[in-house]
């Protein structure tokens, strides 16, 4: 359930609306706040990493009984709310806590198949907190795009659709250098996987600059036949800018493939417990399809999938 905690205050000469957008008790960074003055929605701003926003809406037009405000976030149903005029006809909300009805569309999966992204830790950077928040909010969008695109691509060759995957910010504090801590938190929130990362601006003044990047994807579900090969990706992005979309491009394959492995590990575990051969057959097709996409340098992933394929085929023969 996506909810928005909103409050409105009016300052002299301008309207100010501030609040917090939440999902299941977790803040939603990167959500966009818009107003619709009958000529199409206009963006007022985004929530920060804590899901908070502070925007300046237009006064409610004369003869209008209320303003229309929207909250949008990739993967969630759009939240539409009426805000009656208050002081100086500034829109205000009578309800401070707003809950959305309907099921989330993708960003938060209804089947508990969410990836969690711990905010990237940025060091050696002179970026402001606002920039860092924006970076992490855009990163979630970018990861969601990559993972969803990969899943959709894979479905062409599978005998059943893959479950929807959502991408959520991880609000609990975890350290990139504490893999067990990451795993424990991931298990607590029933995550499919947890993405963590470090970005560090390198290069002294006057020398070519780059962003040194380290990223990890940890598969959280467990299954006896699954042995995860630990992969940490380190990369240098040229230039001084820490661009979340560029980062996601470098890592799209890893994230898409790892996310799918996490998904099929969980599905295999469920199918195995239930002795569900039909579902095991479906998962086998996911394994074959995913392995068909692997490149020549992905022998570690191929070995993980070979282990799972041998296991499921053995189960199917029983």
């Amino acid at each position: 359930m996506l909810s928005a905690l909103l409050a409105c205050t009016a300052a002299v000469g301008e309207c100010v609306l501030s609040g917090e957008v939440m999902h299941n008790g977790n803040p939603v960074p990167g959500a966009e706040i818009l107003e619709d003055l009958n000529s199409g929605p206009v963006s007022l701003g985004q929530t920060n990493l804590e899901g908070q926003f502070r925007v300046n809406p237009s006064p409610v037009p004369p003869r209008w009984s209320k303003a229309i405000l929207l909250v949008r976030m990739a993967g969630f149903d759009q939240l539409t709310m009426g805000a009656p005029p208050g002081i100086d006809r500034c829109p205000k909300l009578t309800e401070t806590t707003l809950a959305l009805s309907g099921s989330p569309t993708a960003g938060a999966s209804t089947t508990g198949t969410n990836l969690f992204v711990a905010p990237y830790q940025l060091s050696g950077s002179s970026a402001s907190q606002e920039e860092i928040d924006r970076f992490n909010a855009t990163l979630i969008l970018a990861i969601y795009n990559k993972v969803t695109a990969f899943r959709s691509q894979l479905e062409q060759s599978t005998s059943g659709p893959l479950p929807e995957m959502g991408v959520m910010p991880l609000t609990a504090k975890v350290s990139f250098t504490d893999p067990e801590g990451v795993r424990a938190v991931g298990a607590q929130v029933n995550a499919l996987g947890v993405i963590t990362g470090l970005a560090e601006r390198a290069g002294a003044a006057g020398t070519p600059q780059s962003v040194r990047l380290s990223s990890e994807f940890r598969v959280i579900p467990r299954y006896p036949a699954y042995q995860e090969y630990h992969i940490q990706i380190s990369d240098d992005l040229p230039g001084p800018a820490i661009d979340p979309v560029a980062i996601s491009e470098r890592l799209q394959d890893l994230w898409g493939k790892r996310a799918t492995i996490a998904l099929l590990v969980r599905a295999l575990s469920v199918a195995s417990d239930a002795h569900d051969k039909a579902q095991q057959q479906v998962v086998r097709s996911w394994i074959i399809a995913l392995r068909g996409k692997l490149g020549p340098d992905e022998t570690h992933l191929a070995r993980e999938l070979d282990g799972l394929k041998a296991d499921v085929e053995s189960e199917l023969r029983k």
Partner: protein, 512 residues
């Protein structure tokens, strides 16, 4: 001359430009303004793609312009190809929303990606959907194109079919399995993406006696501030939805200056031309297989200059001109000399490398294998360090299939070249069984290499014992081996050895 088949697309594009194309409408490019987009478009065009608006989760509106630029480039890449067309789809009047059961089109694409693209293409009767996503961060645009292919039933354009000895009237086939493709994101900025030279054109049925309208603002309701002659080049500065912003300098304002002449105070901003009246001028062209002599004028009858552009050279275009026969000639510079080269001697580049791939698929489907080879080769050249392994493997498979299909006078040589391409494909996706099925088929059909063919088939079945194309091929080979009654070699192999190998594969298959 732009082909007659392509003309309806262009003419109807102009028709749309003449009326108000309000947001929310699907441009069907089908006869009649009242036609809805849930009906098929370009019904008499056999092979068509639909370009949808790019997903724009940050609501920057740039997705509108990118899809239109992509649409124009795809259209230009096939303008000479018979029975082909391109549809640009965007939501208006909630027709797509209705089609998608009340859901927002962008949300549906963003959630369902290729599955949604398939639904859109199915509704419009298209074989391909070109779509994508755009994200902006600190002024850098990341444009991610996707392509969804929709072969139906017995469509052959994702297959290679070969008449193989003993297969009777039914050819054996292999399929290029990857039909949902992601392309390398283009990282760029607005200026780089939209600062193109454009060539003005007129596709209005009434003609354009005054030239092409230039408006004061992006919109059909904005006042006309002047005109640009048809066939002239204008320098684009930016795009706003379907409107290309151009410098006002050089606009003929003699016919209507009521909205302000160039350079007068607040009206000194850019002028706007609807993209439907413009063709993108290629920034560079590549000389094809033979050196080409430059001509003094854009005409086959013009004097030949004593300057040649060597094969394989990349030449910046200095200008373009449509000749009397409607072919687009390019003005280029070679060793300081300027001259003109005709379109059939060069290959143009596109803003989006994916357009080469799309053009290659069109050409393969249209049996224009020579041009298909050129487009896939160019795509691979441009993308070998940036495209993902699956996309490259798919391009190599299409390239191989195009080479085998083109055959020509030296089928064996074409097949050997194709096998090199398939080796590249298997390097990119070593665990994809479909690559080995195609390799097996080419070895059988064109090289009489039974041993290699069966090895490839075994490899594909090792990877996926339930692969339908591999099983079909195995079943066919089994029947062929059974029916072969003589001692004559079968695909270059002793028929008894061949039969024993096939039987062994079948037995192994049956025990799995």
């Amino acid at each position: 001359m732009i082909s007659r088949v392509a003309l309806p697309v262009l003419a109807l594009a102009a028709l749309c430009a003449a009326r108000v194309c309000s947001a929310g409408e699907v441009v069907c490019f089908s006869p009649g303004e009242g036609k809805t987009c849930s009906q098929s478009s370009l019904q008499h065009v056999q092979f068509k793609a639909v370009v949808t608006e790019f997903i724009d989760p940050q609501q920057t509106t740039i997705g509108h312009s990118i899809s239109r630029l992509m649409w124009r480039e795809v259209l230009e890449s096939i303008s000479d190809l018979k029975d082909s067309g391109v549809i640009l789809a965007y939501d208006a009047r909630d027709q797509l929303r209705t089609m998608l059961e009340g859901r927002d089109y962008q949300t549906v694409l963003q959630r369902d990606y290729h599955n949604a693209a398939i639904r859109v293409a199915n509704e419009l009767g298209a074989q391909m959907t070109v779509w994508g996503a755009v994200l902006e961060h600190d002024g850098t645009l990341h444009v991610e194109p996707y392509l969804t292919l929709l072969p139906k039933g017995n469509d052959r354009w994702t297959k290679l079919q070969l008449q193989v000895e003993g297969s009777g009237s039914s050819p054996l086939s292999a399929e290029i399995a990857n039909q949902r493709l992601s392309f390398a994101p283009l990282q760029t900025d607005r200026a780089h993406l939209f600062q193109h030279n454009w060539l003005t054109r007129c596709r209005l049925s009434a003609g354009c006696p005054e030239g092409i309208d230039v408006r004061n603002a992006p919109g059909n309701e904005a006042p006309v501030i002047g005109h640009v002659p048809v066939g002239s080049i204008v320098a684009g500065r930016d795009m706003h939805e379907q409107w290309v912003a151009i410098d006002r300098a050089g606009i003929d304002t003699a016919t209507d200056t009521s909205a302000g002449a160039p350079g007068t105070g607040a009206d000194s901003g850019p002028g706007y031309i609807n993209v439907y009246h413009l063709e993108v001028v290629a920034p560079a062209v590549h000389v094809l297989s033979k050196a080409v002599r430059l001509r003094a004028q854009p005409s086959s009858n013009a004097a030949v200059l004593d300057v040649s552009a060597p094969a394989g050279a990349t030449l910046e275009t200095r200008g373009v001109q449509r000749a009397a026969d409607d072919r687009l000639w390019y003005n280029v510079e070679v060793r300081g000399a300027r001259g003109w080269v005709p379109p059939e001697t060069v290959q143009r580049d596109y803003s989006f490398p994916v357009v080469h791939f799309i053009a290659g698929v069109y050409r393969y489907a249209g049996k224009d294998y020579g041009r298909a080879i050129q487009e896939f080769q160019r795509f691979i050249e441009r993308g070998e360090n940036t495209e993902d392994n699956v996309t490259l493997a798919t391009a190599y498979q299409y390239l191989a299939a195009s080479k085998v299909a083109s055959g020509g006078t030296d089928g064996i040589m074409a097949a050997r070249n194709a096998m090199n391409d398939l080796q590249q494909a298997s390097r990119q996706t070593p665990y994809d069984p479909s690559v080995y099925v195609m390799s097996s088929l080419i070895r059988l059909g064109t090289m009489s290499d039974a041993k290699g063919a069966l090895m490839d088939l075994r490899r594909s079945l090792d990877l996926d014992s339930q692969n339908p194309t591999a099983i079909t091929l195995l079943t066919s080979l089994s029947s062929i081996a059974e029916a072969h009654r003589t001692d004559a070699p079968l695909y270059g192999e002793d028929p008894r050895v061949f039969k024993a190998e096939v039987t062994s594969l079948r037995d192994r298959q049956n025990t799995q």
